[in-house]
Symmetry: C2
Subunit: 136 residues, 2 copies
């Protein structure tokens, strides 16, 4: 084999296929729509997708959008554990912006402190109408 077809050689075949699907998509995908896209690559059962998504999420390559029951490839070079991320979702065109800056992490740290909770994972999703859709 001349070249590793995986984007990241540490990924397994199923993980690579799922990540490619998400990278190719212009928006978030449900697990079952990923399954449908990968049926011609041999995928037959939802668990193949969910297992790959679990790992990809663990690695930080994929995020789950809780309010949409769907998944999206990380748009950042690396969303390490310390960096909290927020998603801004247009309810009209379904475009998702992934925002990740220190002010988000700081805000969540303050919130955790106020609530006397040791933070594990934060989930911030803002639904609205994007500029382009608003103009129409």
């Amino acid at each position: 084999m001349l070249q590793d077809p995986n984007i990241d050689s540490s990924l397994t075949k199923n993980q690579s296929l799922v990540l490619e699907s998400l990278n190719d998509a212009r928006g978030p995908l449900s697990a079952y729509s990923i399954l449908d896209k990968l049926r011609n690559k041999g995928f037959k059962a939802p668990l193949q997708v969910y297992r790959a998504l679990d790992k990809l999420t663990e690695f930080g390559f994929v995020h789950r959008l809780e309010s949409l029951n769907s998944f999206i490839a990380c748009k950042h070079a690396s969303c390490d554990d310390s960096a909290a991320t927020a998603f801004v979702i247009c309810d009209s065109c379904e475009v998702v912006q992934e925002m990740s800056d220190i002010s988000i992490s700081n805000f969540m740290a303050v919130l955790a402190n106020k609530a006397s909770v040791k933070p594990i994972k934060s989930n911030i999703e803002l639904h609205g109408i994007c500029n382009d859709c608003e103009k129409k």
Copy 2:
């Protein structure tokens, strides 16, 4: 009838029953666990619960926890539309704290502005381990 049994007389019977279930619960409930609690009050189908939850959410009496696919009664006198709310969830004991102050609203307004999006609804959920569970 001497007295209206509803907490809020504007609520219908099904809405009141669902809200009472959530008020009685010590944590968030799934729609199906609400259904089970209300079978002895005549509930037979999930739609009875989901329809009541839709209205209660619209009125601001109930919030949906997206990351848990579950619902919780609002702990504030009134969570009006302008006040963003954040939920802090202990992954060990499942206690949920509802936080609502102006800094949360301000933070989401800044986020919306950065993303050039007109905000509709925000969802902030922080998972962690609460003080009590941490000590154990």
